[in-house]
Structure formats: structure tokens, C-alpha cells
Subunit: 348 residues, 2 copies
Amino acid sequence: KSSFNQKNHPHRRYNPLLDEWILVSPQRANRPWQGQTEKTLQEQLPAHDPNCYLCSGNVRVNGERNPDYKGVYVFDNDFGSLMKDDVEFSEETSDFFLLKPERGINRVICFSENHSLTLPEMEVGDIKKVVDVWQKQYEELGNLDYINHVQIFENKGQVMGCSNPHPHGQIWAQSSIPSIVSKAQENLKKYFDKNGTSLLEDYVKKELEINERIILENEDFVALVPFWAVWPYETMVVSKRKIENLIEFSEEEKHSLASIIKDVTTKYDNLFEISFPYSAGIHQSPTDGKPYPEWHFHMHFYPPLLRSAEVKKFMVGYEMLAEAQRDITPEQSAEILKRLPIIHYKNR
Amino acid sequence: KSSFNQKNHPHRRYNPLLDEWILVSPQRANRPWQGQTEKTLQEQLPAHDPNCYLCSGNVRVNGERNPDYKGVYVFDNDFGSLMKDDVEFSEETSDFFLLKPERGINRVICFSENHSLTLPEMEVGDIKKVVDVWQKQYEELGNLDYINHVQIFENKGQVMGCSNPHPHGQIWAQSSIPSIVSKAQENLKKYFDKNGTSLLEDYVKKELEINERIILENEDFVALVPFWAVWPYETMVVSKRKIENLIEFSEEEKHSLASIIKDVTTKYDNLFEISFPYSAGIHQSPTDGKPYPEWHFHMHFYPPLLRSAEVKKFMVGYEMLAEAQRDITPEQSAEILKRLPIIHYKNR
Ligand SMILES: O=P(O)(O)O[C@H]1O[C@H](CO)[C@@H](O)[C@H](O)[C@H]1O
Ligand SMILES: O=P(O)(O)O[C@H]1O[C@H](CO)[C@@H](O)[C@H](O)[C@H]1O
């Protein structure tokens, strides 16, 4: 019997935020790949594209014209998944056919008027303006009486279902707390009720001590590969201070967040020297007015690529039916990300 | 205030198998798509491909040669995610760094020696032989003392991460009950403990009464679009009788399962007149020897395509961070699938 080594032996790891296990198969990292490969856009885009419905001054599908904006620009999504309308509904109880109307607002947020940019290529000061708008939007939408949760996120890259390279993110604000957020909240609360401290604050302290999965750190934030990360180069940005949501951010903290976002996404671009695709989003307290002392602001980055710009990790089959699975270990990914420069490859 | 209509208004539905909600946005079905499109293989493949490592008589990457098999052929995956080795491990308790070695066996199961076939193009009698082997494998692997769960599944199509078009599936057998299965089990058990009946038996009875989401039915099985389906054309095949696992299947039931698999996958191929990609897999009772009266055999089909052979549904951004979301309603999908012929388009 050989003794267990997490670099060589299959094992499961526990995710305390979602209360679930994932399968890690380090020995599988070098299997050959003959399957589908991804296209990556390498061309230099123009600063303004007359065919882009997100660019300044252009007309959108529904006939509306964007203003000649500079910097950040927010508008209601023309094809939202939610509607503002309050509808008449009589709830029925049922074991199998439970259904509830859902109200909400979908917004698009352009990060810059410059069509050719992405977050890692923007100045920290300009990313800070995006964070300012996230803060304002969270507050403004959260203050509406029928909005109890505000999900801020970005899909970047064609492989992540993003249909327009213009730098932009989205906000889906709604009446209910969505399933995954509500699960995270339950586990944050369980920990808080038991220990009187924030799960993520205690976790980050331990990670800083161990220093094996930390990618970056500044005054106010830490970027790390969680011990239980699922995606090959998944990272999480956590505030050092227990901040419940964006409203509590100081000017300095907004600047620090902008700066760590720039550095993390620059490392991502440098990994395969392409514009690195991902879905990223913020988890923070609901906006239903209840107290949430257990909440701790954090941001997830879920990038799909595995071995190269062309080969992604497929979360299919076993992963859809049974359990998330990864090949390269979180420690190996952290090591690689940590060593990458924070100067963008295009500027070298 | 208009009154709620599930065909037009955004709403959430409850999935009692996984105890979670999903977001349905019927009004979003006709938004324009300018994003990534998928390639689909349309060429006629040869019955034997000298470069295919799954074909009869060919040599695999690790130097082993496949026998000159006819019909179904099973072998251990050369690049498995699990290992049989029992390793020495001393468990430590930790809030944040919980980890356990995982033992298991990964097998590949070729459905036919004919490289050019897929399940919908095979004879029912030949699919029945696949079901026979699933039954034997479930029993054989499940009887090993360190195997407590056997996951049988198929990834079909490049877009589902399948790297070889040769008709084949996989089996991942392991010591632990995987996260998603364990969640389903919890909810089946809760219902069984409360009602003394099977959740899925009662659900299927109700669905047969309503007859709005039923796609196909034979002596022993029903194929339907679950009320809480997430993927645009997701279906579930459920046994009418409360069967806990494959071992309990009679010869007739194995034939009925083969037959309904052929019909469901034929409808899928007919939808866009292509070889329709999906991940499919069986959920059944664990093999740890404990009694599982709450279990009820079923098979999930998760196909990614949304509007056409080229446009898939991206489960990204909001879906990864917050909650699964769908555009077309389950009832609309069911209606479309129900009307499709069970004669394969290639044979018309
Ligand atoms: O084993 P395969 O077919 O090469 O690999 C495929 O299926 C596996 C099981 O669903 C996944 O873990 C892989 O990401 C996927 O590419
Ligand atoms: O709204 P978009 O960018 O067109 O659409 C994209 O992001 C949405 C939110 O994550 C997803 O529901 C869509 O499947 C995806 O294609």
C-alpha cells in the first residue's frame, strides 16, 4: 500500500461554500486530446465598430440609439430574461408542479466606449469607474421593493456564449434569491452561527498562512485558487475585510478591487497569450432589507480553458450527472498563475 | 395587472429531485443570436476506421490491441479519472481543507463494432445487448467491496466533449456516492419516508394524466420532458414500475428500455436532421449493499442544442453563478418532440 499523495492520487475535495464534493484526478492531466477545439479571436478590433450594437451612437436591434457615451454606459437589456410587470397569480401547492412568477430587471453595462478593449487592457482608473457603477446599480436596483437580489456578472469570449466582443457585463436583478446564491448563503450562515465569524474571512487567513494557492494580494483583496476549485484555472477574489456588499466599499476599496481585477485578468490573458475567456460574477448579500452578518463579498472567475487556447474542459457526462471533476490540481494551477507576469503580453 | 401565463411570463419552477429552482423565460425565445455557432459532422463515416482506437482489431494509445469484437465490447479506460489502488491515508478534520482519496474503475463500452452507427441507427435488438452489458457491468462492478456507486453514461457529439464518433459510452464506478446522485437520493428518500411511495412513480402517473409533457410511452417506460427541465430539449426516461436498479430488470424490460432509447434518440436526430449531441446517463441505487426502497430507475438526456444544429444554449454567467435558466418552455419542447416521427430521417 503506497501512501496517499494529492499530486498523484484521485481524490475528492469538499466545497464548504456549496456543501458539495468534487472529484480531482491529477493523474489524468496528460491524456491525449483528439476532440473538439475552440476558435480564438486574435485579430485587432477597431476602437469603434459601426456594426456593434454596444458602441457609442449606434442603433440597437429594437431601433433605439445609444448615446455618444464615453466610459461606462448602462441600459436595459433588449432581450431580458425577466420582466418588470407585476402579474396576478394564485399559488397552488403541489409536490411536482411548483411554479412562481418572477419579476426582475436585466441590464447591460458597457465597460468602455472603446470596442477593442477588455478589462485587462483598461487602465485601473477606468476599471474603478466600472466598480463605481456596479456599486450604484446594486444600490439603485436593490432599493426597488420587488428586487431582492442583484447578480452582477460578465461573460467574456465566444466560448462562454458572449455574442459581442465589446467590453461589457450584465446585471440580472430579481425578486428571488437564486438557487446557487441561496445555497452559498445557507453555508455562510451555518458557519457564522456556529463560529461567530465569517467563513471566508477565516478561510482567507488560513490560505495566506499556507501560501500555496494565493495568486495575488493587495491592501484590501486576495485572489486565490480555492482548495475546491472546479474549473482548471478558476479563481476567487475575496475582500480581506468582511464586507457584506458593494455599498460598504470605500473609495480605496473600489480602487483595490479594480486593481486586482486588472491583475487577475492580465495573468489570464498571459497564460496562453490570448484574450482569455471566462464567466465572472459577484456574490454578495441579498437586497431584501434583512440583516446578513454572515455575508462576505467575493467574486468568482470561471474560465473554461484547460490545456491551451484551443482545448477547454468539458463539464459533460459524468459532471452533469454525478459530480464536477478536474484534472490539474488547484495547487498546480495556482503555481502557474502565480508565476505569470502582471504586465499584459501585448505591452511587453 | 395582467394575469399570469406560463407561456409568456418569466417564472421559476421547482425541481423536486434536486430540491432547487430554475428560471424560465418564455418571452426570450426569439432573441437574435450573433454569437458562436457549432460545427456539426454530417459526413458518412466508414463502418471501420483504421485510425479509430475503438474499432475492432485496432491498436490503442497505450499499445494494447482491441480484439476483433462484434457487438458490445468493454475495456478499462486507458486514461481513467479513478484508480483501483488502495492508498494509506490518515484523515484530518478541517473546515476548509477536507479531502479524501477516491478509488474506482473507469470503463469504456463500445456499443457496436460498426464505427458509423449511433444508438438511433442501431437495431432495437442490438441496443438491447448494450442494456444487457450495462446490467452485467452494474452487477459485476457493484459487487466489488470498494465500489459503492456505478455511473453509466454517454457523451455524444463533439460539442459534448466526445472525442471519438465511434458509438460508445462510459462507466465510472467508485467508492463514494457522487454529489448530484446523493442529492437526488436525499430527495427521493424524503418523499418516500413521508408518503411510502416513490416520488417518480407518483410523478409519472400525474404526467400521464395531464399528458402535456409526455413524448413516448411503451409497456414499461415513459419518456417525458420534466416540468423542471433545464436544457432546451432535456428528457427523462422513467420505468413505470418502481425498479431500484438494472439488476431487477426482466428480459422484457431490457427490451422496452432499448426500444424507448431508440425512439427518443431518433426523435432527437430528426429535430434538426443531424446526429443530435447529448450527455445521457442512468440514475439508480448505489451498490453499497444498503437497502434503497426510495430509488426509482431513470435515465436523463441532456442535449445542448437550442435553436438549430448550430446554436446551442450556453449555461454560463448567470447560470454558473446564480441559477439554471431556459428560454423555450418544457411544454413547448415536449410538443415539438412529441410530433417528430420515430422513423430516422436517413431512412425516410
Ligand atoms: O473521457 P472522455 O470521453 O475523453 O472525456 C469526456 O468525458 C468525461 C466524462 O464525462 C469528461 O470528464 C471530459 O471532460 C470529457 O471531455
Ligand atoms: O445575454 P447574452 O449575453 O446574449 O447571453 C449569454 O448570457 C446569458 C446569461 O449568462 C445566458 O443565459 C445565455 O445563454 C448566454 O448566451
